[in-house]
Symmetry: C2
Subunit: 192 residues, 2 copies
């Protein structure tokens, strides 16, 4: 998606350690008009899919998911990150390892909001090693819901999350795929 690539080139910052800072428009300050355009693009890319709910993960996925959900006319459910789970049987749970925070946390979704009748589109801001998406897929599988696809804003194409998801036959639509980036020059190359 050209608009997103241009925004990344203009306002993104490449840092050491394969970090791409996009906090000016994506995950700290949030450009909701860009999010709306992203929602329209996912709507086009997932045309024909029977989607009745969007699933995301707190915190930075929530804004993008909610604006996109307006385009799809469906509700959003967000998985909560938690250090200690109340294992009372009312929650689906999985584990996610954070790439940036280097720690493992539990994610939970109430059983009330995910079930066999649901057809789910996962939306998230970043895809790197795929741990967050895999955790969300675990929750979907546990609930008996159907995964219809995964929509990502920015995929780090040089990490293996995208490959893992596509190999499972899942429709993955990343609106910008960073093939390589250079902290010294600030240069970013996108996959065509």
């Amino acid at each position: 998606m050209k608009l997103l690539e241009e925004k990344i080139r203009k306002e993104g910052n490449v840092k050491e350690g394969n970090v791409l800072k996009v906090d000016a428009f994506l995950n700290h300050q949030m450009d909701v008009e860009l999010f709306h355009e992203m929602g329209l693009e996912w709507k086009r890319l997932f045309e024909g899919k029977n989607i009745n709910k969007i699933l995301t993960i707190e915190a930075s996925g929530i804004g993008i998911a909610c604006v996109a959900a307006e385009v799809f006319h469906v509700p959003v459910v967000f998985a909560k990150k938690t250090a200690s789970i109340n294992l009372d049987g009312e929650m689906y749970t999985s584990k996610v390892e954070s790439f940036t925070k280097k720690k493992v946390f539990d994610i939970i979704v109430s059983k009330k909001f995910l079930g066999p009748d649901d057809h789910i589109l996962i939306i998230d801001d970043f895809l790197a090693n795929g741990c967050a998406v895999m955790g969300l897929i675990d929750l979907i599988n546990e609930s008996g819901a159907t995964l219809e696809g995964v929509g990502i804003a920015i995929e780090k194409g040089f990490q293996n999350g995208g490959k893992l998801i596509r190999e499972r036959g899942i429709q993955l639509e990343s609106l910008a795929i960073v093939e390589s980036m250079d902290a010294a020059t600030g240069e970013i190359t996108f996959r065509n």
Copy 2:
């Protein structure tokens, strides 16, 4: 706002300890079409105010803030909750005590995204003792930005947050104010 009050009556649950569960539509599963109506209502209530940015706090404020921001045609900035702050001078910081989690955490906003030229509307899902909003006001004051008002989805009118904010002369618009609620009968009374 009648629509929100009806939704709370229909899908909300009163629990012991003054807990109002609205996770079916507000802060776990999220009804984005309701959020859009809430955005329109705040737009009407804050008519004439010069607002160029919405400030909220993770996680459950983000969805409401983003959908409302589309109505206002402004970006959103969300304050991040963090246990340990990187005090490198690039962040505004404050402290918030959580009513439901009974603990104190730091909140941060990058100095890049809040400054003297900004005219801020704070948006959040709940107002109880007002700690979260007070923390956000601290960040705004520290930055030199102007606070134009506070928009809340559900105010617990029997706690003192609303009073504290209104006493400071701040325009506070809560779309539903719960005057009292009863966990035994499930009855909820709204302020007129």
